[in-house]
């Protein structure tokens, strides 16, 4: 429903009953827009449009334009146009950083999609069965989402992964000098793709921390969705002899379609913009992602806005890809 339709509908409610003459009605309802209605209408479209253009389009286009410059971000006079040089360097000089980041963003997406999200759904499904102390479990699983990032960084770096003093090495009995596991520092590949690229061990350690946060987020969303599923559906399926898995797979899951889509979108967005946990864990070697490359280049005392913007455009292109897939699906459904 568009904005116009909704305003017209409201007019009907507050004015005279609908007449049978459609044309007359159209004209009248138009003329019934008072000055304040018009102002409201204008504001309601203008303010969001303005914000959208100012906060989304102008920065995006600005980034695109700046990606053709060499500029330290200090004075406009020092800005130099360099054509495609930044892009060329991205693929010739800094190619390892770029490909490593693209792979890492992909790894996050795969891990959240196949581990984080299903785990969150499973926990939500179990907690939905009105277990004793369900609220306590919910709070525990949700805690990582509300913790400050400084705390998250401390927990994972100092409490869990610290080679000499961390919980993990203590539990595994690997605290002796020489046999300690270097969780955050070891860039050897867990899953090699080529000799230079793959899923590194320390990045997997970071992904574990991301999953830890993501699970709680998905759980809360899914739990809210499950509450809205008609319990009769479940009963009916059970009477028909469906087992637990079949009930979920054939009845609950399809009924939850809108929530599933939201969760999928969140999973994709999270994996594309992942930055915070890597940054608070000090961005060990082999753990670059696109957003880290953007900020590393643009921020910092020797800001290199041109190259950072070129990385930003790369991220934008990747996001466009997913946005197109999503929109195509979303509109495909409505037809």
């Amino acid at each position: 429903m568009s904005l116009d339709e909704s305003v017209t509908a409201t007019d009907h409610d507050v004015t005279t009953p609908v007449t049978s003459h459609e044309r007359e009605e159209g004209r009248r309802s138009h003329s019934l827009l008072t000055g304040s209605d018009r102002r409201t209408l204008t504001l309601m479209t203008a303010v969001p449009s303005f914000l959208h253009i100012a906060l989304v389009w102008i920065p995006a286009i600005g980034t695109f334009i700046l990606s053709f410059t060499n500029w330290n971000g200090v004075r406009w006079s020092s800005l130099k146009w360099v054509g495609f040089r930044n892009y060329e360097q991205l693929f010739t000089v800094f190619e390892k950083d770029l490909y490593e980041s693209l792979f890492n963003n992909l790894w996050v997406m795969v891990a959240l999609f196949f581990l984080g999200t299903p785990l969150g759904m499973l926990i939500a499904y179990i907690l939905d069965r009105n277990l004793k102390g369900s609220a306590i479990y919910q709070s525990i699983f949700y805690t990582p989402v509300v913790l400050s990032l400084a705390v998250v960084g401390f927990i994972w770096r100092s409490v869990i992964y610290s080679p000499g003093q961390g919980i993990l090495n203590s539990v595994l009995g690997r605290t002796e000098p020489g046999n300690q596991i270097d969780w955050l520092g070891n860039p050897d590949f867990l899953i090699p793709i080529t000799s230079e690229y793959g899923l590194s061990k320390n990045f997997m350690a970071l992904i574990a921390a991301m999953i830890w946060v993501h699970v709680g987020y998905v759980m809360v969303l899914y739990l809210a969705g499950l509450k809205s599923v008609d319990p009769n559906l479940r009963e009916a399926a059970a009477i028909d002899g469906a087992n637990e898995w079949q009930v979920f797979r054939q009845v609950i899951f399809p009924a939850m379609k809108p929530v599933n889509i939201v969760i999928m979108v969140i999973t994709v967005i999270t994996s594309l913009r992942v930055f915070d946990i890597i940054d608070v864990l000090n961005n060990p070697i082999g753990t670059d992602v696109l957003s880290i490359l953007v900020t590393d280049n643009i921020l910092g005392e020797s800001g290199n806005v041109g190259r950072g913007s070129a990385y930003g455009v790369m991220l934008l292109l990747v996001c466009f890809g997913f946005a197109i897939i999503y929109l195509r699906n979303a509109f495909g459904e409505e037809d």
Binding site: V74, I181, E301
Partner: protein, 444 residues
């Protein structure tokens, strides 16, 4: 690039790295006054202000931007301001978290809110001076007394003018635990062979010779610095940092070969270990030596009481062991300060022994830059730092202060990858050289 030849005169002092805390603190001062004085005194450019060296002429408000977010340095700076004899100047200190401050220095320099900013000597000061973001304080330097030629060189930009006022420094050396050395009968080595045999003794005693910690990818830059200065000399090191040598050069390659031969004496898993955890390994006697700034002592009081250090010994007798990293901290003035007259008076005051004594009374972990500072209150580490630096034949500022920050980050990555797999050194070095060319071209 070789302007910074040096020996440091006088007694300097170690400043601090790990600054945490996250708040902008206003210690002193009136916001309203700041606005008033901007109208009253300003006239901005230094040409308009004749600096005579007399403290007391200026008035109005003055703002210092500071990264001293740890309690001791913060109290130290407040003490410096407290000792400023010009009562007519209302000084405000804006303290930001250490890392936030450094990441935003570009914006802070241009915002024009803070007249005087805490910063680092050498390349990182020159970098901003060359972009016209800093105010010339050569006239303040004309009045300075008690700072050696090394400090002057480290404060001078490409145009030959001074843009920095050094207040303190600290040294990088091989730290060790006095009690462990006494217990095992170890002694300080005077050349690399003695160092290796000491390391062998430690290994046979079940002690890992060297702490190795590289979380954040800056600590082991110190190892590269010292090896390069011992093997190729100070001038080569500074030229390499300035982008004037190729990283694929045989001489650089030699540094990595030597480093590789030393790696078995180091802790494994360095990349995931913080320097504080490294300091803990030194304290417990798990490891015998730790090449780090003397700030290692700040990790714990027990370590501070038991720690001593020696200069990294010579590798090549023709080159000797005279060069070392001794990062200098101090203050700079923005290009168009709101209150240039007061800023210059304060900067001159900061260079004096009086101001530095006031600072050291709150933060005894550092050594003053002024030779007239009161050294009788120094602890053993401070005295040794000062002696080491004053006998040095070449002082570098540490890799991330001696080259373009972007490039320093690439070096940090390269070193981290190198210690994980030294066999990749050649491809890592040619990658680094490619990046060097690209990054230096951006700033030429």
């Amino acid at each position: 690039m070789t302007t910074r030849k040096t020996e440091i005169g006088g007694y300097p002092s170690p400043a601090e790295w790990a600054k945490d805390l996250n708040r902008r603190t206003v210690l002193k001062g009136g916001v309203a006054l700041a606005g008033l004085s901007a109208i009253g005194v300003s006239c901005g450019s230094d040409a308009a202000t004749e600096f005579t060296g007399a403290i007391g002429d200026a008035g109005g408000a003055l703002t210092i931007g500071s990264n001293a977010s740890d309690p001791a340095p913060q109290a130290g700076l407040a003490a410096v301001v407290g000792s400023f004899p010009n009562e007519n100047v209302e000084v405000t200190i804006n303290t930001l978290d250490h890392n936030t401050y450094q990441e935003n220095i570009n914006a802070i320099l241009q915002a024009g809110e803070d007249d005087v900013l805490a910063w680092f000597a050498g390349f990182r000061n020159k970098f901003f001076a060359d972009q016209g973001l800093l105010g010339d304080i050569s006239d303040v330097w004309d009045q300075v007394d008690g700072l050696g030629a090394g400090f002057l060189a480290a404060s001078t930009a490409t145009d030959g003018k001074q843009y920095f006022m050094p207040t303190s420094y600290y040294t990088w050396a091989v730290n060790y635990s006095k009690s462990l050395f006494a217990e095992k009968g170890y002694s300080e080595p005077s050349n690399v062979d003695e160092l290796l045999s000491l390391a062998d003794d430690m290994a046979s005693d079940g002690i890992t010779p060297f702490v190795f910690a590289n979380d954040g990818q800056w600590p082991i830059m110190g190892t590269f610095d010292v090896l390069n200065m011992r093997i190729n000399g100070y001038d080569f090191h500074i030229d390499l940092m300035g982008g004037n040598h190729e990283w694929t050069d045989e001489r650089v390659r030699n540094v990595f070969s030597t480093w590789e031969s030393l790696l078995p004496y180091h802790q494994t898993g360095a990349n995931g270990r913080t320097w504080q955890e490294g300091a803990a390994a030194l304290e417990t006697g798990e490891c015998g030596m730790y090449l780090l700034g003397t700030f290692a002592a700040s990790a714990s009081e027990a370590l501070a009481a038991d720690m001593d250090f020696f200069n990294f010994p010579e590798i090549d007798p023709a080159i000797g062991a005279g060069a070392l990293d001794a990062p200098i901290d101090g203050f700079q003035m923005i290009a168009e300060p709101k209150n240039a007259a007061a800023a210059k008076e304060l900067l001159l005051h900061m260079s004096t022994a009086t101001a530095q004594d006031a600072y050291l009374s709150e933060d005894p972990s550092v050594v003053a830059s002024n030779s007239g500072a009161n050294t009788s209150v120094y602890n053993d580490l401070q005295k040794k730092s000062a002696a080491l630096a004053s006998s040095a034949t070449g002082i570098s500022q540490f890799l991330d202060r001696d080259t373009i920050p972007d490039f320093a980050g690439e070096c940090g990555n390269m070193f981290a990858e190198f210690i994980e797999d030294p066999s990749k050194v050649d491809s890592l070095l040619s990658d680094l050289e490619e990046k060097k060319v690209a990054i230096f071209a951006d700033y030429s």
